[in-house]
């Protein structure tokens, strides 16, 4: 083997080592950036959920889009406070809380957020417009009744013929459909309402960001951190049970890494949500 061959081999080995190290660093820093966004988002929805669940009986001024009932007590949701808390936390954790330009730029990457409330879902668009609430309603065509479900046991039953509204519980009602228990029906209706509201908002012309691609998106709750918001069970993907109100949001279209891959992250009440594009 002559001198030049040795040099070539040496150069090749060193080049491969350097390239491998560079690739590792790139991958590490990209993952780190995604982690940063994910952490900021889950902390922000956790904090906003704390506001959503807080009793605000004495001050109804911020509750323009309905409320929820806890026991016999009517409780208003502080939507404005929840949104403020959400933004504050996300900006703190991205280190841009004092950078107005960066904050405004980032807002357009949060095209959908909102509140899964006790008896309805309310969505807030990218420009912070709260859309009208969507109730968890089911129409019983055989009996001309409209059932308005809640995340708890309470069901409001509206009789179309008499125009009366009564408050019932899931157990006290007769079985509404033949193939499902009332609880299963409630879970189905709640999930369908949430999915439909999200899909509608995602495909709305109000969302001019990359969400145009999102028709048919499925939001899938895969993890719930009990330590973050204190011990309530929320399931979605399998069990389809969400039993307490929470704030949700998604980050969309942030470019990370060398090849500018666009990330899409979602979170509900401090839990990570899986976003599947159909």
């Amino acid at each position: 083997m002559n001198h030049i061959d040795k040099e070539l081999i040496f150069t090749a080995i060193v080049s491969i080592a350097v390239i491998t190290l560079l690739a590792w660093i790139l991958r590490y820093t990209t993952n780190d950036t995604v982690d940063m966004y994910e952490y900021a988002l889950t902390q922000a929805t956790s904090d906003a959920t704390l506001v959503v669940r807080e009793d605000r009986n004495e001050d109804g001024s911020n509750s323009n889009y309905g409320g929820f009932e806890k026991g016999e007590e009517k409780i208003n949701i502080d939507y404005k406070g929840a949104l403020k808390s959400f933004y504050n936390t996300i900006f703190y954790n991205l280190g841009i809380s004092t950078n107005i330009e960066a904050k405004n730029a980032f807002r357009s990457h949060i095209p959908i957020k909102g509140v899964v409330g006790y008896d309805n879902i309310v969505i807030c668009t990218y420009n912070d417009i709260w859309l009208p609430p969507e109730s968890y309603s089911y129409f019983d065509k055989d009996r001309d009744l409209i059932y308005r479900f809640t995340l708890g046991e309470v069901v409001y039953v509206y009789d179309i013929n008499t125009g009366t509204d009564t408050k019932e519980t899931l157990d006290s009602l007769i079985q509404i459909t033949t193939d499902m228990t009332n609880k299963q029906l409630k879970n189905y209706v709640v999930m369908e309402t949430i999915n439909k509201a999200l899909t509608k908002a995602a495909s709305s012309e109000l969302n001019y960001t990359s969400l145009n691609l999102m028709k048919g998106v499925v939001f899938n709750l895969v993890h719930f951190d009990h330590e973050v918001i204190g011990g309530r069970d929320i399931y979605n993907s399998e069990g389809n049970i969400i039993d307490s109100p929470g704030f949700f949001a998604m980050i969309d279209g942030i470019a990370v890494g060398l090849n500018s891959e666009r990330i899409r992250l979602a979170s509900f009440g401090g839990a990570k949500m899986e976003v599947i594009n159909k």
């Binding site: 704390l50 703190y92 980032f106």
Partner: protein, 159 residues
């Protein structure tokens, strides 16, 4: 011709050595930053989910991050409703927090549920890798901020 090729190979080796050194420093910086990020995240979460800061918590955090010169900033933000029903904001700084921890007989700094607590750690001496990091990660963060963690206080477990 021979001396030209020798010069090229020496330049090549020097270049490779510089590149390897840069990479080593780069990795060291990443490792150091990760320690600071983890410690800050743990400290911030603990304060927000417990609702207080003790001398032990503070000193433990300081010890974990004392691996390079840093500028650390705490902010405790309180929102209050004034007599005309407007929301007013008060900020308690690091000096006030430390003063309470060290000089108050109870040696505890208490926060209230719904207050906000933010920790920001900046590099005192900006490294030459900062610019490279910004380009690689497309980070939104301002230069030299290693980590910023914050949010709402969830509990008052000192009660």
């Amino acid at each position: 011709m021979d001396s030209v090729s020798k010069l090229f190979s020496i330049m090549g080796i020097v270049f490779i050595v510089i590149l390897i050194l840069l990479l080593i420093f780069f990795i060291l910086k990443i490792e150091q930053d990760q320690v600071i990020k983890d410690a800050t995240k743990d400290f911030n979460e603990r304060v927000r989910f417990e609702g207080y800061i003790t001398r032990d918590m503070y000193e433990n955090y300081m010890e974990r991050i004392s691996i390079k010169p840093l500028e650390i900033r705490f902010r405790h933000i309180k929102y209050k409703i004034d007599s005309s029903n407007r929301e007013v904001l008060t900020i308690y700084t690091q000096r006030e927090i430390i003063d309470e921890i060290y000089n108050n007989p109870n040696k505890i700094y208490k926060l209230e549920k719904h207050d906000e607590f933010i920790v920001q750690v900046k590099e005192l001496q900006p490294s030459i890798f900062e610019g490279v990091m910004q380009i690689l990660t497309k980070s939104l963060a301002k230069p030299h901020i290693i980590v910023s963690k914050g949010g709402v206080v969830h509990n008052e477990s000192y009660r």
